[in-house]
Symmetry: D2
Subunit: 142 residues, 4 copies
Amino acid sequence: MRLSIEPTTDPGDYEFVHRIRVRFAETDAMGIVHHSRYLPYLEETRVEFLRRIDRPYDVMRAEGLDFAVLEAFVRYRSPLRFDDVVHVHLRVGSISRTTFQIGYLLTVVDDARPAATAVTVHAAVTSTGRPTRLPAWMLELG
Amino acid sequence: MRLSIEPTTDPGDYEFVHRIRVRFAETDAMGIVHHSRYLPYLEETRVEFLRRIDRPYDVMRAEGLDFAVLEAFVRYRSPLRFDDVVHVHLRVGSISRTTFQIGYLLTVVDDARPAATAVTVHAAVTSTGRPTRLPAWMLELG
Amino acid sequence: MRLSIEPTTDPGDYEFVHRIRVRFAETDAMGIVHHSRYLPYLEETRVEFLRRIDRPYDVMRAEGLDFAVLEAFVRYRSPLRFDDVVHVHLRVGSISRTTFQIGYLLTVVDDARPAATAVTVHAAVTSTGRPTRLPAWMLELG
Amino acid sequence: MRLSIEPTTDPGDYEFVHRIRVRFAETDAMGIVHHSRYLPYLEETRVEFLRRIDRPYDVMRAEGLDFAVLEAFVRYRSPLRFDDVVHVHLRVGSISRTTFQIGYLLTVVDDARPAATAVTVHAAVTSTGRPTRLPAWMLELG
């Protein structure tokens, strides 16, 4: 396991936040958001973070750089429900020459309740999927 | 609307059947399978049908032929639930030089209840997405 | 088939519009949005439409009223891709005492290209799934 | 983080195996299975494991017992592609009075390649979502 950061439940520890509203299609027969549906929330937030720092993911992909997911970890703290408005907080964690980690905190806006924390570990790959070094601008985020 | 066939609820009208078991991840907060989840069931059944007639879809795609979805129609007749075993019946409908239609009937195995009927309309496209003529073997299925 | 309306490609024919951005998780190996992923876009737009007319769906559900999906039809006109910003236009179509139809037009904001048209047919049901009459405010939308 | 087991890449270390074939709908624009789609594979395998040991999940749920997901971890080792046949190997890991861990190994059948390892951590909950003790038969699996 490479993931080494432990995301906190304090929104102040995060550098970026993205707002999502839970779709009905994301719920399951327990009446809550299915646990697999959190990963696309994290991904959407990474994409918006890259746009915010002027590194839009579609431009990166057009230039032949992609970020593969090496590992993903989610801790489910309290359920999300249909129509909940969720803040996904993001911070860049530890960065090496070929991989980087992102930490996340999901909070429900209505009651500021921490719903989940998560970590994803990524590697830079070329468009054919071969590992490559992280771009300089990425290293500087660390 | 190109779709012109009206699928029946008689399994005897269909030439192929594929068995699927409902995953928990496919249910929603109404306790039933979400209506969007039927389309992957139909797709999986098309893939198994092509394999059965010795036209595996991955070989077709490697040869530069793909089947785009032009239209999809589903009529939901009675709900599917978690762990239901479902028979997806398939028949090839009307075929023109560039498009073909597939009809489907979903039945729940336990009680032979018709759960849904559906139609998809497809066109042959090249790997870059340009329309092309249907292959000869496809025309012969009509 | 109950669906009887044919949605146009003129945004001026629609009474409501909702903006969606395509997630990477919604694409498939053809590099485009998977055809099953349009149905959650339509559903999210219905939910936002109900909120706009002051009939939030979660309140309706808490009051024991739900809208089951009886039929769904999508015509795929041109592909959606990762990160596309999409306008989902909605209009209420034909309404009977127990069912109503909704028409949709999806356009890509960058080039105003019509990406898809769609129709969904719904029935009012109680929380146990039994058919019931449409509420008066719904009949007045017709 | 409660997860404490590190799943191996040796299929011999696992007590149960379930076969899955990758659906086209599960791929993404990188041409591989989207990383969020592994979690439903793990869930389907848990359901089949419970059926094998005569504790069908739907019976459990009808009796008011459910298994909530507290944590999930996936390590992606090599990509899965459309139509791959995958063996999901499962073993019960550490068990406490209220939680248990499951370890997984995914291998591609064609080349016996390890595709992923994973861990999920679960708690027993009542049908209203309140934590409860694990049933005796579950404790005996440890």
